[in-house]
Symmetry: C2
Subunit: 196 residues, 2 copies
Amino acid sequence: MGKAKKTRQQILEVALQMATSRSLSDLTIGNLAVAVDMSKSGLFSHFKSKENLQLAVLEYAHDLFREIVTIGVFEISSPLERLTQLCDNWLNWYQLQAKTCIYISASVEFDDQPGLVHDKVADDLAKWLNFLIVTVQAAIDENELKPETDAKQFVYELYSLYLGSQSMIWVGFEDSYHNRFKVALTSLITRERGEV
Amino acid sequence: MGKAKKTRQQILEVALQMATSRSLSDLTIGNLAVAVDMSKSGLFSHFKSKENLQLAVLEYAHDLFREIVTIGVFEISSPLERLTQLCDNWLNWYQLQAKTCIYISASVEFDDQPGLVHDKVADDLAKWLNFLIVTVQAAIDENELKPETDAKQFVYELYSLYLGSQSMIWVGFEDSYHNRFKVALTSLITRERGEV
DNA sequence: TGATAAAAAGCACGATCGTGCTATTTTGTG
DNA sequence: CACAAAATAGCACGATCGTGCTTTTTATCA
């Protein structure tokens, strides 16, 4: 009983690495079995189907994401400071993976093919964006951002900058410290604080 | 002689559709052959390898992109107006495909697997970004944007907004007219014009 | 410790992939 | 119109995919 869960976790750890550095569809049961030194069927019996494996990987990633990104932020009383801390942690999550975010590739890969994986990715993404929106709105409500600020628009721009940072690193227009992201984020916040 | 080129173009047209709505790797020679009503080997002989097919699709897409996006813009003397026209056309390109951009999925899919396809995608993307940067810089030089504007940072933000728009449509945070994109773009330009 | 259930492995299957080789059809040209 | 050349089709191959079935190994607990 305990053994199964343990190996399952070990499998998922490796699986997440592979799925992150390649993609969720490229994550093949055969390759994964080799990577964790198991037989194909032995590994397979843990998940019963590839779709279940993909879902399990995403769930594993989701847990890890929460752990890394939201750790400690609830103790920060200022919504705006909470937001900046979240963004810092967000970049850490990014770095901790092989410098790519599995949700980015998964959302691009499954945006057009319906199924449980599609639904989970869209759901997780929406939840995260909503969490950001709530935080931004809290900052507005506490007058840390100016009242005219559109929280949803704010988060759209924030998330865009995050996406862009990864793409730009790829073509060498952004460094691996995400400095352009940081500059733009600071600018965005300063702007919406209304201090000018 | 003429026949080969013609069927090749017809193949590529369908191939681009398929690669856009799914992805470049999901574009399978067998499926493509069915779609264009040819035999697998008959189609294959046009390209000699799958990699060549993918490269040909990208080249076809690139031509189409230039045609749609840069059409007429060189007659616009004002760099800033040229830039906004480019962005308008850019969205048209986006819409004309099945509301997704093949370069976005291709860059995510091939960012980690080396080869000619990887190189071409990175190259095309870099060329486009550089073209945008040059245009922005021209606007700065002609005092249509304020002299402190960082052209590269500007384009990073612009491209990010483009990326974000697609993602946000997917989760329903952006409408299919890209209104959030347009709002953010207007804001970006206004900001960098220094008028406040 | 020995019985029993769970976990892992072994093996095989049908499908699909990219890609050669050979034959047939279609095209362009002297 | 004939004939060479080019385009397409037919067919088969080895590999790899996901996934069942059966057997063997390993872990759990009375």
